[in-house]
């Protein structure tokens, strides 16, 4: 005689999946925002050397200089290792103005902590690297990080 009649027992209502697209879209937007497509197309071969005593790099205060042999599509630039900054090949003399321009673009409190990340192909000869370093000394940007792949000790 109860008023609260139970319906057919064991018949669970289907879980509504109406909010599933919302959840998935939320995730989708997160990954879309977090995805960084490679910012500068490399025109050189860039296989980094490996090291085990590595430290993490703080990206907010870093400019990258790439160096290596021009890759297959850019054969017209020859076989000699070249320096790439952002999207273009630069000469050794242009390193200093490029780096100073990159430093000036940073927010003010990070400028003294400016680091230059050197992403240099492992088959490059070290003479080019010391040329770059000499230019960086002239630009007075003295903190450098030799970017390397971390390897297990």
């Amino acid at each position: 005689m109860s008023k609260f009649k139970k319906g057919k027992q064991g018949d669970l209502p289907a879980i509504s999946t109406a909010s599933l697209p919302d959840i998935v879209f939320m995730l989708l937007f997160f990954f879309m925002v977090a995805t960084v497509m490679r910012d500068s197309t490399l025109m050189i071969d860039n296989i980094l050397p490996s090291a085990d005593q590595v430290e993490k790099l703080k990206k907010d205060r870093t400019a990258f200089i790439y160096a290596g042999k021009p890759s297959a599509q850019y054969k017209q630039f020859g076989e000699e290792p070249r320096i790439q900054f952002n999207d273009a090949f630069i000469s050794v003399e242009e390193v200093k103005p490029s780096v100073l321009a990159a430093q000036a673009e940073l927010i003010e409190e990070l400028q003294p902590k400016f680091v230059v990340g050197l992403k240099i192909d492992k088959d490059t000869h070290a003479g080019l690297v010391s040329d770059i370093k000499q230019e960086l000394r002239k630009a007075n940007t003295l903190k450098v990080m030799y970017i390397a792949n971390a390897r297990a000790e």
Binding site: T17, L20, P21, V24, F25, L27, L28, F31, M32, A34, T35, V36, P49, S50, A51, D52, Q53, V54, E55, K56, L57, K59, T62, V115, G117, L118, K119, I120, D121, K122, D123, T124, H125, A126, G127, V129, S130, K133, Q134, L136, R137, K138, N140, L142, K143, V144, M145, Y146, I147, A148, N149, A150
Partner: protein
């Protein structure tokens, strides 16, 4: 003609489409974190001051030739022995530092013909223009490893009690500093500086000869 209501669009496949996109972005996302060896270059010094004379015994010279061979202290050496040789040199403690203190934490041989004090010990590295960058990085890596080994040992001796679970005390300290970068922990920073001061990294690089 009777006006019909527009049929409702079935949104059931919306989730599938969104999943497809989601999986695409999941796969293409690389939250990459660059790592590397952080070094400081020496500033250009135009002053005409005579550089201080460094005794030969306080200088550990590493030369790399164009064939990527190593010459360490006038002897040819394999890369795998470099780390140990550098540790022995830095940890020798055969004499006193500039303040006249002897190195009471050094565990080296105290050989009077090797370095006096970690304060004074300088590693000098020179390479040829034709040396490969890979070899250059390997040598840098081994030399930094020698310093890290010694710092780790001292951190383990002095501060192990604060980090009983850590395998590498110095590394744990640096990681903690990294974590608290917005709230300065003066005690921790003081400890790290103390370790760094025990084995200051004095790694100089000579410019390769222009020829």
């Amino acid at each position: 003609m009777a006006k019909r209501a527009a049929p409702e669009v079935n949104a059931g496949s919306m989730a599938d489409i969104a999943f497809l996109l989601l999986i695409f972005f999941l796969v293409t996302t690389t939250i990459e974190k660059d790592k590397g060896l952080l070094r400081s270059l020496p500033p250009i010094d135009d002053s005409e001051v005579e550089p201080p004379i460094i005794k030969q015994k306080n200088l550990f010279t590493v030369l790399i030739n164009r064939n990527n061979q190593l010459l360490v202290e006038e002897d040819q050496m394999e890369l795998k022995n470099l780390r140990q040789a550098a540790i022995e040199f830095l940890d020798n403690g055969g004499g006193t530092n500039a303040e006249g203190q002897s190195c009471d934490y050094c565990k080296g041989k105290r050989d009077p013909s090797s370095s006096d004090h970690p304060d004074k010990a300088i590693i000098s590295m020179k390479h040829d223009r034709e040396t490969s960058y890979e070899q250059y990085m390997d040598v840098q890596n081994e030399l930094v490893a020698a310093y890290n080994h010694l710092r780790e040992r001292e951190a383990n001796r002095l501060f192990k009690r604060y980090y009983p679970d850590a395998d590498n005390v110095y590394k744990a300290m640096l990681e903690e500093k990294e974590k608290n970068q917005f709230s300065k922990d003066t005690v921790l920073n003081g400890r790290i500086d103390q370790i760094k001061k025990m084995y200051p990294m004095k790694l100089s690089e000579a410019e390769p000869d222009k020829n």
